[in-house]
């Protein structure tokens, strides 16, 4: 589990994760917010459907792909979390957008 250190105080940002209300913090990437919520996996791989989560957090591994505001294959680690964002874990899909 990734936990916020007590000295990391930042205002909360509400968003939707797979349809349920969730909370991140200002300054979070979508990937960081998911990890802080204990969501280690954020997608199923395109080839065999195995669970995956972000590995590098710097935009090179493409394992943190999620659906953000209806657009698939977004790199969660490079996308700043914004209030009201609709984030969905991704199931295998290769299409760039639905």
């Amino acid at each position: 589990m990734f936990q916020r250190l007590p000295e990391a105080r930042r205002p909360a940002l509400p968003f939707l994760l797979d349809g349920a209300p969730a909370e991140g913090r200002e300054g979070d990437s979508v990937a960081a917010a998911l990890l802080a919520l204990g969501q280690d996996a954020c997608r199923e791989s395109a080839v065999s459907g195995q669970p995956r989560g972000g590995y590098c957090m710097m935009g090179v591994c493409f394992d943190c792909l999620v659906v953000i505001d209806g657009i698939g294959n977004r790199q969660a680690c490079l996308t700043p979390l914004r209030a009201g964002m609709v984030v969905e874990t991704q199931r295998g899909r290769r299409e760039p957008a639905r």
Binding site: M1, Q3, E7, G27, G54, V60, L78, P96
Partner: protein, 480 residues
């Protein structure tokens, strides 16, 4: 990020200099060039400036400066110089194209842009070397750099049963930062090959005279006081169904051991992030000590493509402070190439960064040899995925390399699709080259690397369609 960065307006059509990457090299290059009166655009994929090493420096998550350590906060001075320089800056900008005519294509917030650069400085930095052990794709397994990024930018610390595994300075730095944050890892598994000492030893005097020696040894001592360290690890695997549950390891001929885990953080050094330079046609060389490809550059950072300069770890791994110095050198050289300053002025201004570069290069020869990862960890284990995207195992890759005698990585794509997924070979390129090289008993220099082409980042048709187009473009594509 909280402070609105400068240069948020739409990009212009052309700039004297376009810099790619806002780490130490890019910030320095942009500041130096803008300081000489050039119009400069700095494009960066990150949410804020700093690159990976100074991630979050404009909006620090942790007010307690002791956690990340004094070296991290050196980024503040670079950022101040950059902010005062007047260079335009676009964060969250994915650069997907660079060609010999120095046109730069990038996307930002769903819109694509093409700008013309007089000169281009690439400061694309480093990425962590792939560590293809069984289970490295399981959720709960991250790179050490990823865990450090979360600590710097969000103040998030890996907690629970956390095992750090691998080799190299970053692994120890992260361990010390987790200790300082009150979250010491449960165990550090050191995979540094024992035989490396023999190669490193002749370079020990240079290391002892370097800025890294005292700092590094004190840091390792701090870690050893708080974290159990097991050295000489020769086998490593992570087990679990839906996520990492257990790490197993072995030391030479000893019996296998293991322990339950919540997170495994892997690291075995960093290598140049070269996709954009390679796609722009810059020649690459195999660097045998660091066991990686790096774009060929001269003493100013000029690549084999006129007007395309490379600075920082993207041109060869040497660390943050060397990167800042190389950024200044490339920035000065690019401004001189535009005719803004003469060669004498360039050389005079280059004296200080050259001296800094020499100082921070000292000691690297020792570190490079000591922390050179073992060959079997650079190639994929049979059960490990060599290519994470297309899910090609080490066994499959090795079989194709040995039985089919596939000549190189580009032919391997046709057989196995490795390197053809969204990461475009970033997490398998070196593994594939070294596996083929071992199977064919040739040097990686002879095997070569993937041919990389633009777009080097995925791009939607919608983004492409957002590029400005005129009547001639529409006629050429059969439109109305």
């Amino acid at each position: 990020m909280s402070a609105p960065p400068p240069g948020e307006a739409a990009p212009r059509d052309a700039y004297d200099i376009v810099v790619v990457g806002a780490g130490p090299a890019g910030l320095s290059a942009a500041a130096v060039a803008a300081g000489q009166g050039a119009s400069v655009l700095l494009l960066d994929e990150g949410m804020g400036p700093g690159g990976q090493i100074y991630r979050g420096i404009a909006n620090p998550a942790l007010p307690d400066r002791r956690i990340l350590g004094a070296d991290y906060w050196k980024g503040e001075a670079l950022l101040r110089a950059f902010a005062a320089s007047g260079a335009a800056y676009h964060p969250c900008a994915a650069v997907w194209h660079l060609d010999a005519a120095r046109r730069v294509g990038f996307s930002r917030e769903g819109r694509a842009h093409l700008v013309q650069a007089g000169q281009v400085v690439l400061a694309t930095g480093a990425l962590e070397r792939p560590f293809p052990v069984a289970g490295w794709t399981l959720p709960g397994v991250l790179s050490a750099g990823a865990a450090q990024t979360l600590l710097k930018a969000q103040g998030l610390a890996a907690t629970g049963r956390v095992v750090l595994a691998g080799c190299g300075p970053l692994l120890w730095l992260l361990a010390s930062q987790l200790v300082a944050a009150g979250r010491p890892p449960a165990l550090l598994l050191d995979t540094t090959p024992a035989g490396n000492w023999r190669h490193a030893l002749p370079h020990l005097p240079g290391f002892l005279a370097s800025p890294y020696a005292r700092k590094g040894l004190a840091l390792m001592a701090r870690v050893r006081r708080a974290v159990p360290v097991i050295g000489g690890v020769t086998d490593l695997a992570i087990e679990g169904e839906a996520r990492a549950g257990r790490v197993t390891y072995r030391r030479g001929g000893a019996a296998p051991a293991g322990l339950p885990v919540d997170h495994v953080l892997l690291h075995q050094g960093v290598t140049p992030n070269l996709n954009l330079a390679a796609a722009a046609g810059c020649a690459l060389d195999w660097e045998p000590v660091q066991a990686c490809f790096q774009p060929r550059t001269d003493a100013w950072g000029l690549t084999t493509r006129p007007g395309i300069w490379l600075a920082g770890d993207g041109a060869g791994i040497a660390g943050a402070e060397a990167a800042a110095a190389r950024g200044s050198l490339a920035g000065l050289a690019a401004v001189a190439a535009l005719g803004r300053i003469d060669a004498a002025t360039r050389d005079r201004l280059a004296a200080a960064p050259r001296a800094a570069l020499a100082r921070h290069r000292r000691g690297r020869a020792f570190l490079d040899r000591l922390y050179r990862p073992a060959g079997h960890f650079r190639r994929a284990a049979d059960a490990a995925l060599a290519c994470r995207c297309e899910e090609v195992t080490g066994a499959t890759l090795r079989e194709a390399a040995e039985r089919l005698q596939v000549p190189g990585p580009n032919q391997m794509k046709a057989f196995l699709r490795c390197g053809m997924g969204p990461c475009q070979g970033r997490l398998c390129g070196l593994t594939v080259t070294e596996t083929i090289a071992a199977a064919r008993r040739l040097s990686p220099a002879e095997i070569g690397y993937y041919n990389l082409r633009s777009p080097v980042k995925p791009l939607t048709l919608g983004e492409l369609a957002s590029l400005p187009h005129d009547e001639a473009d529409l006629r050429a594509t059969g439109g109305a």
